[in-house]
Symmetry: C2
Subunit: 597 residues, 2 copies
């Protein structure tokens, strides 16, 4: 098997890091039990490992094929996609009113990791569909919902998000695609969109595009952008497919990775205007997008974890088979390279950072669930703020980790890692997109510092740090010697984060925006290290307690060792990052001179 879904670790992390049992006890998930969650993960993991994972390498070589406006997906994809949708996986997080299973974001995030680890190119389409479902569920008219949602939820149709234009990548102010009122309540859409994931394909009979466009009388900037639903085939009143709409795929991109995911240039209105329906209110399109932003960003974070875990599994397997040299203390003959200390360091770095990122993603998912499902309004508000704070960290830290781990995976393979047929290189190529799309990681860092730190006058971030400190206190109280210097190193990391946070809150209060902007990226990394180390420590404390209570599961020792490795080898970078953050804008003071030479 090329990928084994880490079901047991996901379940353990949900319980001991993301508070699954507490949430159940508090009534957030009335229909869930730990056993049911484990069952769902087990089934999802099996489908991912057995059905999807074998598609990954062949589909990378075939790629998606474009000819005459049509996109053909890789061999076997239609069959697996249909089986996957029919098994109900597409409907997992959706509203039961439209045929969804209504499972929480926490469970969905774990499954998203499985789908993406087994084949990121395959999983991307459903990820976009989930975003479309969410936007329509929250903002579409009853008629649009009735016409589209059930089939999007079942996976019979897929959805896309059309934001980017050549001149409008990160900056949606510059969107130029036009929408004109047709007088019958519909609109005519004209313009081009680029980088449209699954803009065209052969997996489903219809494709539902959500398109940002500008009305003729719209105010300039992002306050003049509206969201439209533009189906590939117009849907008749009885739900059957009608006329082909005036939208076509012009070409697909030749990319570094995710070769099998078609990235399309879409042309709207070549023949007079694509028929579109308004979603939400006119000029409020961006607000509709923001509804689903947290979820989509978290899902991309889960992609980072996913690709990292797949790269790690492959590297570990190779390192245990490949023999070179003699490891310290080994007997005669060549040792598996997994026994060499430097290779162990690489493998442990891969695993520890992957699990740290996984912990952050699941914590974020739990906060999103709480923000929606907590019985108490104040609890929902607080959870919403926490989710808002953690989301950019989950997205950017995890996707950076995805690239770093995939690169280490290549390194563990030595020369074989550079040969495409080995497969290690594909993970690096695939991973590289995740820090870019769904808001570049630089934008995530700016979002974290400029918009999330000031939430609730800074009490949200202070609260998050206070929770980290509590874990530190539990570590100090633990008598388990296997923790080594975990408590000390983690405390230093959390205090470094606290210092950097104080610096930034002060800078923001004093309107020293340049300081805050200059420090954003190292601050996000620092946050990820402190939060990720905390997540690992929470899992390790639970393992230590279980072991003390007589549970002989060997995974417990592994969890403690992993938390310790992270604290002693990765968290040690925290103080230096804080120092860099607190250099502020002076770090870039003479940037122009430095770049000019």
């Amino acid at each position: 098997m090329t990928y084994r879904a880490p079901v047991e670790d996901l379940a353990f992390t949900m319980r001991h890091v993301a508070g699954l049992e507490e949430s159940i006890a508090e009534g957030l998930y009335p229909d869930l039990s730990v056993e049911l969650v484990e069952q769902v993960l087990e089934e999802a993991g099996r489908f991912a490992s057995e059905r999807i994972a074998p598609l990954n390498a062949p589909a990378d070589r075939t790629g998606a094929h474009f000819a005459d406006g049509q996109v053909t997906t890789a061999p076997g994809w239609r069959e697996v996609y249909r089986a996957w949708a029919e098994a109900g996986w597409n409907a997992l997080p959706c509203d039961p009113e439209w045929g969804g299973q209504g499972l929480p974001t926490l469970v969905q995030t774990a499954c998203v990791e499985f789908w993406n680890a087994s084949c990121m190119s395959f999983a991307l389409g459903p990820l976009l569909t989930a975003g479309a479902v969410e936007a329509l569920t929250a903002h579409a008219s009853e008629d649009l919902k009735r016409r589209y949602l059930e089939k999007l939820v079942s996976g019979e149709w897929m959805g896309t998000m059309n934001l980017t234009e050549p001149q409008a990548g990160s900056d949606l102010n510059a969107v130029r695609t036009r929408a004109e009122r047709a007088g019958d309540g519909t609109y005519r859409i004209t313009g081009s969109k680029i980088f449209i994931t699954y803009g065209e394909h052969d997996l489903t009979d219809n494709i539902v595009h959500l398109v940002l466009a500008r009305l003729p009388d719209a105010p300039p900037g992002t306050r003049g952008i509206s969201l439209f639903l533009v189906p590939k085939f117009i849907v008749n009143d009885d739900g059957s497919l009608g006329a082909r709409n005036d939208v076509r795929c012009h070409s697909i991109e030749h990319k570094l990775g995710i070769h099998a995911s078609p990235t399309c240039t879409m042309v709207y209105g070549d023949a007079g205007g694509a028929v579109g329906w308004l979603v939400g209110e006119e000029n409020r399109g961006l607000a509709c997008m923001f509804t689903m932003m947290n979820n989509a960003r978290l899902a991309v974070g889960a992609q980072g974890v996913a690709i990292a875990d797949r790269a790690y599994q492959q590297a570990l397997s190779y390192a245990r088979e490949r023999r070179q040299g003699r490891a310290p203390g080994a007997g005669e003959g060549m040792s598996p390279i997994a026994d060499h200390p430097d290779v162990q360091r690489m493998l442990l770095t891969m695993k520890a950072t992957t699990h740290a990122a996984r912990g952050i993603c699941l914590m974020t998912a739990a906060a999103i669930d709480r923000s929606r499902l907590a019985p108490d309004a104040e609890a929902r508000r607080k959870a919403h703020e926490l989710a808002s704070l953690l989301t950019p960290v989950a997205k950017a830290f995890s996707t950076d980790i995805g690239c770093e781990v995939a690169s280490l995976g290549v390194q563990v393979h030595g020369g074989m890692g550079f040969i495409e047929e080995t497969g290690a290189a594909q993970h690096l190529r695939d991973a590289r997109i995740a820090p870019i799309y769904e808001g570049t990681n630089g934008i995530q860092a700016i979002d974290l510092v400029m918009r999330k730190l000031p939430l609730a006058d800074g009490t949200t971030v202070r609260g998050a740090i206070a929770e980290m400190r509590k874990v530190g206190t539990r570590l100090v109280a633990s008598r388990d010697e296997a923790f080594g210097a975990t408590a000390a190193r983690l405390r230093e990391a959390v205090e470094a984060l606290d210092d950097a946070t104080s610096f930034l809150l002060k800078a923001l209060a004093g309107h020293s925006l340049a300081d805050a902007l200059a420090a954003a990226t190292p601050y996000l990394r620092l946050f990820g290290i402190a939060q990720g180390g905390t997540a690992l420590a929470m899992a390790a404390l639970a393992a230590s307690e279980a072991r003390a209570a007589g549970d002989a599961n060997p995974a417990h020792a592994g969890r403690i060792a992993l938390a310790r490795f992270f604290a002693e080898n990765i968290a040690t970078g925290a103080r230096g990052l804080a120092q860099t953050v607190m250099t502020g804008a002076s770090a870039l003071a003479d940037a122009e001179a430095a770049l000019a030479g």
Copy 2:
């Protein structure tokens, strides 16, 4: 122009970091002047930028083509290669006795950077030829030298290095290729070699393979390996080409990057045995390889700098043209993304780490020159030890930087970076091989800690640290306020290196090999940061002094700003790395448990 050779910076770094003028004054380079060096760089840079650089992207798309045992290089390559060799560039570092120009390693290293920045795939062949020339010059018989060297030096023929076999990558103990004495002074070679760079191609009429093989009565392990010269065509006594030798290319690899550089599986002796000639003594093949190891590793380090600089140039150019959002303090309309603080941080990180690595490579080159050319034997011995110490740092730090910078280059491009036609992704793909070949970076780190730190009872490394401290003292003495916290941050980094060094020397003295091996990689990174920061500071101090003396060159302010950025933003990681080093083997204590789960 897609690449502008940084001639001025190379010359400045040679003078103020690598001590060019001092070396000239001491008589190391009797035929050189600063002006002559600048002239050579100018010419090399022009050829690289104008002739080679335009080949890079098209050749990546075409790749090298294999059919029927023949390799066809990309369109235009034969012509440019011949023009390059005819202009004398291949002969630059070679012994004048064989037609070389006898220029020192310092100048050659700068040129190697230019060739590799303009097209790494193209430059790789000559890099291997240079290794073969070096091995033959030092170890071959007069007859072999007479028959082969002149044409290898002129570039009329090219050379290869055949070390790796499927079961013998990093571990040459396992070499199985056989050599039998033919009774006439020649040998018959039988076996397979993999990953042979430029093992077959159409650039030259003959290819001279240097092959590691084992005699029937050889002792086991690396003490039983001999080095053989195996030409593709046997060379007649009059220098003309004779019979085709029994060596053929079986296939070439499909790789992540350097697509246009043929990576060959070579088969020797399919038809009874390839005719080979012994180079050096029987069973002393590895010693012959080690002769050229320092140079080849340094050259690969220069590749890391090269690809980093090319990626940086492209990213900077894109960031100045691409407009998105409004930068702080900017006027109406969208700003170039180069004006956004977070993008500036990426660009400065790219440039600062690239220049730091360049400084280390040129310092290493100067030490190699001194080890050969210093009039005084004791000076040569000391320089040899310093070169030995710095070489693994030059190789590993620079090639790690190459990957990191190329990855940042993709990020600066946003979505466009992931599209192959932009070219940013190619740099990342190409860069990824350099940490692997010519001794993986893990092996470099182990070499640094296990073999180089103990040199001269630790006085070599202590001496290197003392030199770093002297630069720190000069920084403290400088009154130039533009340095900001450079002195403080760099001092902290050097003291962190000193602490980590003491820990490791003590561990080695106490035979705590596990501590040393576990800490090797973070120690090498720490060394690179301290040494690289020092190199930048040396350049900046020279710039500051020139400025104080009235030199209005704006590049001076840039050098100071760059050294400061590195100290305040990169060197800040040093203490955490030292902390990790000093965790020692306990960092990996429960590695098995942690990896088992």
